[in-house]
Amino acid sequence: MTLPQTPSQTIGPFFAVGLPWPDGPEVVAEATPGVVRIGGRVLDGAGDPAPDALVETWQADPAGRFAHPDDPRGPAGRAFRGFGRCPTHAEGRWAIRTLKPGPLPAPDGGAEAPHLDVSVFARGLLGRLVTRIYFPDEADANAADPLLASIADPGVRGRLVAVADGDGLRFDIHLQGAQETPFLAI
């Protein structure tokens, strides 16, 4: 049986009525050992901030495991929400607090470098945009990562790697323009 899939629509400008959660950006509590802050801005094709976007993240735990029954290695042993959600504010800024994920085994016997999957929703986006955040202190793992390796232009590839910023990481999302973020077809 194949049922016709439901089309997407824009999240619109007023999702703050229902979607933000008080603990949305806190994938882990602030006092958790190893906590890392990852954040940045969402910018449009004119370089202006998008103050009405929603950024969501999904990731493995520090051991590279998921609290999910479809992980063929079996579910993770401990509870880790793995999910972050943060609306952007006036300057287009978003941020989450999380733990750095571990690397993941890839089907070809290699490994995926530590990463977060990211969804971006906004007024003016009729569907979800997907991208990934990689870590700047993982040069060797990033060099061997299958997705990063599939992007020929090193300048474009580098836009998927967060930048050290004080005691956290910065990842700006350019929806359009010269610095457009690589978005992914899943």
Binding site: T2, P7, R73, P105, G124, L126, G127
Partner: protein, 250 residues
């Protein structure tokens, strides 16, 4: 369904069952000039293909602890009842293979009966309703069912073009079981004369638009109390894997 590990994998790579490609003609194009806000926001570079691996075939399982008993009823969140036409909106979350998606979080938000959102950015000079916030959530049951009680949202003007009005709609956010299934969309009401003038519904390929329109259901309609609208949400289905093909052979 088995929750047992299929392959213990230190050393041996995991077998990841991916999800089927989305059929062309399902979703709106991101570049849709009739909806002006797309102009500076749609990506112009080609998307980079990402085969489904562990991060994509898993996803947040957020049901428990996110919902309290009355979150599905938008008419009981304040001291009194909101004004407007009371309705029940119910349906199922399924995948394209027809499998129900149980225990998955469904979130909704909407304008009030006068067409006004409880949001600082909404400048429509229609009244706010002190008894209506316009947000609800629930978790699907074992059969993938959800049910909300609310009031029918009003149409409202927006500034996309001269004399622009959105047809009445309820925003829906669903997670499904995997990151690849995540969907945010809008549900409409049958027969709305504003459909023909709405560039947001109109962005959907024509043959798929009706999938966003609920239907009046007299079985869901409660006598002397509320009209019922039914609407199912269908998320991506799985790829047939060689592993499953083997099992299916007689």
């Amino acid at each position: 369904m088995s929750d047992m590990p299929r392959g213990r994998a230190t050393g041996s790579p995991p077998v990841v069952a991916g999800y089927a490609p989305e059929p062309p003609g399902t979703h709106p194009p991101l570049d849709h000039p009739d909806y002006r806000s797309t102009a500076l926001r749609f990506p112009r570079r080609p998307l980079v293909p990402l085969p489904h691996r562990l991060t994509e075939v898993t996803g947040p399982l957020l049901g428990e602890g996110r919902v309290t008993g009355r979150d599905h009823d938008l008419t009981v969140q304040h001291g009194g009842e909101p004004l407007g036409e009371r309705i029940v909106v119910a349906g199922r979350v399924l995948d394209a293979d027809g499998r129900p998606l149980p225990d998955t979080l469904v979130e909704v938000w909407q304008a009030n009966a006068a067409g006004r959102y409880r949001h600082d950015g909404d400048r429509h000079p229609a009244p706010l309703d002190p008894n209506f916030s316009g947000a609800g959530r629930c978790v699907t049951d074992a059969e993938g069912r959800f049910r909300f009680v609310t009031v029918k949202p009003g149409a409202y003007p927006w500034r996309n073009h001269d004399n622009a009005w959105r047809p009445a709609h309820i925003h829906f956010s669903v997670f499904g079981r995997a990151f690849v299934q995540r969907l945010i969309t809008q549900m409409y009401f049958p027969g709305d004369p504003l459909f023909a003038f709405d560039p947001i519904l109109g962005s959907v390929p024509e043959q798929a638009r009706e999938r966003l329109v609920s239907r009046l259901d007299m079985d869901l309609t409660t006598p002397e109390w509320a009209l019922g609208y039914r609407w199912d949400i269908v998320l991506r289905g799985r790829d047939a894997t060689p592993f499953e093909d083997e099992e299916d052979r007689p």
